[in-house]
C-alpha cells in the first residue's frame, strides 16, 4: 500500500532548527583556518640539504615562480625569467632552517609538489638520520619524494638550467622514474634505515658537462652511480656500470641494452633485456655463507655485427651463454664492490635473516663488517633469446653468402 505522509505544520521550523543546529556552529568552528589561495603558495619542487659551518645545516629550496611560467594569454613567459628560483638559509637543524626560510618568503612554503630531496656529500658522510626525522615526521613533505646524494654540495644541483624538462628537479625525477637507476623514496629510505638487515643506498648525482647547441659547455645534473650507506652514514660510491649490476640483482631494471662478444667470434651483439627475474636463495653450509642467485632472463637482439646466424639453434645457444655471462659479470662486480665497501647493498642480510633466523641472531651486530664481505656467491643463469628481430643473418653474412 502506498502510504502518504501528511507533514505537520512544524516540519519547516524543525528542519530549519535542525539544519542550523548542525551547520551554523560548523561554519564558526572551522573558521577558514587552513584556507590558502594557490597564489599565496611557494611551490617547492626540490630541496637541497648541505652541511654548513659550526655544525649547522643549510637548506636550499627550489621554488616555482608562476609569473614567469606563462601569462594567461597562453604564450610562454619568454626567456627572460627563470621558471624557478632558489632560496637558502642556514639553521641548527632542518626545521630551524626552514622556519628562517619561511620568515623571509612572502608566500607559504608548500611541500606537496616537492619530489626531490638532495643531500650533499658532506652531510651524507656525517649521517642523515636526524634530518630524515624531520622529513618523515612532518606531514607536509611527501613520502613518495625521491632522495639523492650529490657529489659535493647539493645546492648547485637545483640551480642548473636544464633543457627539455622544466627544472632540474623535474629532470632528475623523470630520469629516476624511467628506471635506469634505483630511485629511493623518503618512505623507502626510512624503512632501509630502520631495518637491521640491510643498509641504505641512494642514487648519486654528479655534474656532467655537455655541449649545448651553440657550442658552449653547460653543466647538467646527472645520476651516476650509487651512494652506499652503512647505517645512516655514506661510506662510498658504486660506479655507474656497477650500479647497473646492482639493479639487475635487485630486479629493478626496467630497460637495459647489453653489448657482448660471444667467445671465438669477432664483432658484437646487442641485446635488450625484456624480462628478468632474480631469485636469491641463501645457504649456510659448514660455516660458509653462500648466496645462490638464480636469474631468469629474456632478451631481444637489437643489433648483430657478428657472423652468427640467429636461425641456427646452436649459434643461438652460444649467444645466450654470452648473454648470461655478461649479466653474471655485472652482478658479480656489483657484489664484490659492495663487499669491499662492507655495505650490503643487495640486501642479502634480509634473505639470510628470513631463512636462518637463529644463525642471523648471532651475526646481526657485525653482519656488514664481518660476515657479508665473506659471503660466497653462486650464479645459476637461465638466459634466453626471445626474438632475433626482423632479419636472421647479419647484412655482412647475407652479402657474402652467395
Amino acid at each position: 500500500m502506498i502510504k502518504v505522509i501528511h507533514r505537520t505544520k512544524h516540519t519547516l521550523l524543525k528542519n530549519v532548527l535542525l539544519f542550523s543546529a548542525i551547520f551554523v556552529p560548523f561554519l564558526f568552528v572551522s573558521g577558514c583556518g587552513d584556507r590558502i589561495e594557490i597564489n599565496d603558495l611557494a611551490i617547492v619542487t626540490a630541496a637541497a640539504i648541505d652541511k654548513s659551518d659550526n655544525g649547522q645545516v643549510e637548506l636550499a629550496i627550489e621554488i616555482v615562480v608562476p609569473k614567469s611560467i606563462g601569462s594567461s594569454q597562453g604564450a610562454r613567459g619568454g626567456d627572460g625569467g627563470q621558471a624557478t628560483t632558489v632560496r637558502s638559509k642556514k639553521g641548527d637543524n632542518l626545521s630551524d632552517a626552514l622556519s628562517k626560510l619561511q620568515a623571509d618568503l612572502p608566500r607559504k612554503v608548500f611541500w606537496g609538489s616537492c619530489k626531490v630531496f638532495i643531500f650533499g656529500e658532506g652531510i651524507a658522510k656525517d649521517g642523515i638520520q636526524d634530518h630524515l626525522d624531520f622529513l618523515v615526521r612532518d606531514p607536509l613533505p611527501r613520502e613518495r619524494a625521491y632522495v639523492f646524494v650529490s657529489e659535493g654540495e647539493a645546492k648547485p644541483f637545483i640551480r642548473h638550467e636544464v633543457p627539455i624538462e622544466r627544472n632540474p628537479a623535474e629532470m632528475i625525477r623523470e630520469i629516476t622514474v624511467r628506471g635506469s637507476v634505483i630511485g629511493v623514496t623518503l618512505m623507502e629510505l626510512d624503512e632501509m634505515m630502520a631495518n637491521e638487515d640491510y643498509s641504505a643506498n641512494l642514487p648519486y648525482l654528479t655534474i656532467k658537462e655537455e655541449e649545448t647547441s651553440d657550442g658552449t659547455l653547460s653543466e647538467l645534473p646527472n645520476i651516476n652511480g650509487t651512494a652506499m650507506f652503512r647505517k645512516d652514514k655514506m661510506v662510498g660510491v658504486l660506479t655507474e656500470s656497477t650500479t647497473r649490476g646492482l639493479l639487475w640483482l635487485k630486479d629493478r631494471i626496467k630497460e637495459a641494452t647489453i653489448n657482448m662478444t660471444p667467445e671465438n667470434v669477432t664483432g658484437d651483439i646487442s641485446m635488450t633485456q625484456i624480462k628478468s627475474k632474480v631469485n636469491l636463495t641463501p645457504k649456510i653450509s659448514g660455516g660458509e655463507w653462500i648466496m645462490m642467485i638464480k636469474v631468469k632472463t629474456e632478451g631481444v637482439v637489437v643489433q648483430n655485427s657478428t657472423v652468427l646466424n640467429l636461425d641456427d639453434p646452436k649459434q643461438v645457444k652460444l649467444i645466450e651463454k654470452a648473454f648470461g655471462k655478461q649479466i653474471e659479470n655485472r652482478m658479480r662486480k656489483a657484489i664484490e664492490e659492495s663487499q669491499g665497501m662492507k655495505v650490503d647493498a643487495a640486501h642479502f642480510g634480509k634473505e639470510f635473516h628470513r631463512k636462518y633466523p637463529k644463525q642471523w641472531k648471532k651475526v646481526k651486530n657485525h653482519w656488514e663488517e664481518e660476515v657479508f664481505p665473506e659471503v660466497k656467491v653462486e650464479f645459476v643463469i637461465d638466459a634466453h633469446i626471445r626474438s632475433r628481430g626482423f632479419v636472421d643473418k647479419s647484412i655482412r653474412e647475407r652479402g657474402s653468402g652467395k
Binding site: 502518504v4 584556507r35 589561495e37 608562476p66 609569473k67 611560467i69 594567461s72 606537496g112 609538489s113 611527501r142
Partner: protein
C-alpha cells in the same frame, strides 16, 4: 491615490469572499418561466459583450434562445444544424413539441440536457451553446465548441533524435485525444474536474485502471479537490498546491510536454494530471532517477543509451560539485593537484585579484544570468547574448586578469553538465544547490562539500512523491527496478513495472522474450 489603493487592497479580501459565494450557488435550477430564465442569464452575463443571446421562435410559436460565447463556438454548425432546422420546422400535430422532441430532431451528436444554472454557465464557458426553451425546466447544451488553437509541434525543451515529435498544446481536449491515440484501451481513465474559482480550468486526472494503485488515485483526487484558488494558469499552480514537501528544492512531479512520456508513465503505474491551457502535464509519483531518464533512452539501442545514462550521472555530479571541488581543492587541499597542473593553475591565477571563491561565485552568477537572459530574449537578440557571454565574459575577463582561465573551464563545464540533465526543472534544482556547496567548500574544503552532499542526501531520503520514496529504487533498494535506473535494460528484459505500487499488476509483459533466430515461428 496610494492610500486609496491600499484601502482597496484591504477591502479585497471580504469582497472576493462575497463573489465566491455568489458563484457557488450551485444548486439553483432553471425555472418554468422562460423570461425569468432569460433575465437571469442576462444579469449573469451583464457587461459581457462576448456573450451572444439569440432569440427566435420554434414553429413560429415557441420562444427559444441560444446563448453562446463568440469565438468559442462553431457558428456555422450552429446555424445549419440548430437554428435553421428549428426555425423551418413545421409543428407535428400528433406530438406536442417539447425538449425531448427537439433533441431527437437535431442532427448534433453531442447534445446534453442540463438543469442546473451552474451547469449552464459551465457549458457556455466551455463554448457549448445553450438552448433555452419556453416552458422547459431543462436547457439543451450542444457540443459545438470550436476555438483557435496552436498546431501540434515538437516541444522545444524536450527534443529527441528518434521518437515521436508531437507535443501537447494548450487545449485539454486535444491533449487527452493525443493520449487516447497512444493508449486505446478503455482501461485508461480520464477524470476531469474544474479548478479555479474564476478560471474554471478543466484539470484531468489520467491513469490506467488495473495498473495504477487505487489509493494513489484516491489521494490525488482528494488533493486536487482541496485546491481553492482563483485561477489555474499553468500546471505549476497545481503542482505547488498538492506536492508532498512544499519546501524541497526538488520537483516532486515530472512535468512534460510529450504524450509519449505521459503514456510511458501511465504504463508504469503512475498517474498524470493534465491542465487545460498549458501543454505541461504533471506525472506522479516520480523519483530522483525518473528525472534522469530521457525519452531518447527508450528509442535507441539500449547499450548506447546505458552508456549515455552513465555519462549523465557523471555530469549530474559534476554540475552539482565541480565548482565547489575546484574551490575546495585549490584553497585547502593543494596537495591533491598533480604537480604540473598545480603549477599551471598557479601561473594562471598569478594576476587574478580575487580569491578562488569570489572568482567562482562571480562566474557562476554570470553564467546563471546569461542563461536566464537567453531564455527571455527573442531569437534575434539571443545571438547577441551568446556573443557577449562567450567573448566578453569568457575571453575578455581572462585577458583582463579578472578571472583565471581554469576557472572559465570549470564554470563552462558546469554549465554544459547542468544542461545534460534531461528534465529542465530538475536541472534548476541541481544548479541552485551548487551555490551552497560552493560556500561550504570555501569555508571548510572537502569536509564542507561532504557535509553539504550529506545534507542533500538526507533530505532526499526523506522526500516522497505521493508516497513513493524519492530515492527509490536505490533507497529503499529494489534490485529488480534498477534495470531502468543504473542501466537501461533491453525491452525484452523489462518484465516488471516499477515496484512503488506493488499491490497491482506488476507484470508488464510475458517473460523470456529474448529474441533469437530459433524462436522465429515456433514460439
Amino acid at each position: 491615490m496610494i492610500r486609496n489603493s491600499k484601502k482597496l487592497l484591504k477591502n479585497k479580501g471580504p469582497k472576493q469572499q462575497s463573489v465566491t459565494d455568489q458563484n457557488t450557488k450551485s444548486q439553483e435550477t432553471l425555472q418554468k418561466d422562460f423570461q425569468q430564465n432569460v433575465n437571469m442569464f442576462r444579469s449573469i452575463y451583464l457587461d459581457c459583450s462576448d456573450v451572444i443571446f439569440r432569440s427566435f421562435r420554434i414553429f413560429g410559436q415557441m420562444d427559444a434562445m441560444i446563448i453562446y460565447i463568440e469565438g468559442l463556438t462553431d457558428t456555422d454548425l450552429l446555424d445549419w444544424n440548430v437554428l435553421s432546422p428549428l426555425m423551418k420546422m413545421e409543428a407535428d400535430e400528433a406530438e406536442p413539441p417539447g425538449i425531448d422532441w427537439i433533441k431527437n430532431h437535431l442532427s448534433i451528436s453531442d447534445t446534453k440536457k442540463v438543469n442546473l444554472v451552474a451547469d449552464c454557465i459551465e457549458s457556455i464557458s466551455a463554448g457549448r451553446p445553450i438552448l433555452l426553451l419556453e416552458g422547459e425546466l431543462y436547457a439543451l447544451s450542444f457540443g459545438l465548441t470550436k476555438f483557435e488553437k496552436r498546431s501540434i509541434d515538437e516541444p522545444e525543451a524536450e527534443k529527441v533524435i528518434r521518437g515521436p515529435r508531437g507535443g501537447f498544446i494548450e487545449s485539454l481536449q486535444v491533449n487527452t485525444s493525443l493520449l487516447r491515440r497512444i493508449i486505446k484501451s478503455p482501461a485508461m481513465k480520464i477524470k476531469t474536474m474544474t479548478i479555479g474559482e474564476y478560471s474554471k480550468t478543466s484539470v484531468s486526472l489520467i491513469y490506467i485502471e488495473g495498473i495504477v494503485s487505487p489509493p494513489l488515485i484516491e489521494e490525488m483526487e482528494s488533493r486536487l479537490k482541496r485546491i481553492k484558488i482563483d485561477g489555474v494558469l499553468e500546471s505549476e499552480y497545481i503542482e505547488e498546491m498538492i506536492e508532498d514537501n512544499p519546501y524541497s528544492p526538488f520537483p516532486q512531479f515530472l512535468s512534460t510536454e510529450r504524450p509519449d512520456v505521459v503514456s510511458a508513465s501511465l504504463l508504469e503505474g503512475r498517474a498524470a494530471i493534465l491542465t487545460d491551457g498549458t501543454p505541461f502535464a504533471l506525472i506522479a509519483p516520480v523519483s530522483f532517477f525518473t528525472m534522469l531518464q530521457a525519452p531518447d533512452d527508450y528509442y535507441d539501442r539500449y547499450i548506447i543509451r546505458t552508456l549515455i545514462r552513465w555519462l549523465r550521472f557523471v555530469f549530474l555530479f559534476a554540475a552539482l560539485v565541480f565548482p565547489a571541488l575546484y574551490v575546495a581543492i585549490t584553497t585547502f587541499h593543494q596537495e591533491m593537484i598533480p604537480d604540473a597542473l598545480l603549477i599551471s593553475i598557479a601561473a594562471a591565477r598569478e594576476n587574478v585579484p580575487f580569491p578562488a571563491f569570489v572568482e567562482v561565485l562571480l562566474m557562476e552568477l554570470m553564467l546563471e544570468a546569461l542563461r536566464e537572459a537567453g531564455v527571455r530574449l527573442p531569437n534575434q537578440v539571443g545571438s547577441a547574448v551568446s556573443i557577449v557571454g562567450a567573448l566578453v565574459i569568457g575571453q575578455a575577463s581572462v585577458q583582463a586578469g579578472l578571472v583565471s582561465a581554469p576557472m572559465v573551464i570549470v564554470v563552462a563545464t558546469t554549465g554544459i553538465a547542468s544542461f545534460m540533465i534531461p528534465r529542465y526543472m530538475f536541472g534548476y534544482s541541481i544548479r541552485m544547490l551548487r551555490f551552497p556547496l560552493i560556500i561550504l567548500a570555501s569555508v571548510s574544503g572537502l569536509l564542507g562539500i561532504m557535509l553539504g552532499i550529506l545534507a542533500i542526501v538526507i533530505h532526499l531520503s526523506g522526500l516522497r512523491s505521493f508516497g513513493a520514496p524519492y530515492l527509490g529504487p536505490l533507497a529503499p533498494l529494489k534490485t529488480s527496478d534498477l534495470k531502468d535506473v543504473l542501466w537501461r535494460a533491453p525491452m525484452w528484459k523489462m518484465d516488471t513495472r516499477p515496484h512503488f505500487n506493488k499491490e497491482t499488476n506488476i507484470n508488464r509483459q510475458a517473460p523470456h522474450q529474448e529474441p533469437g533466430p530459433e524462436r522465429g515461428g515456433r514460439d
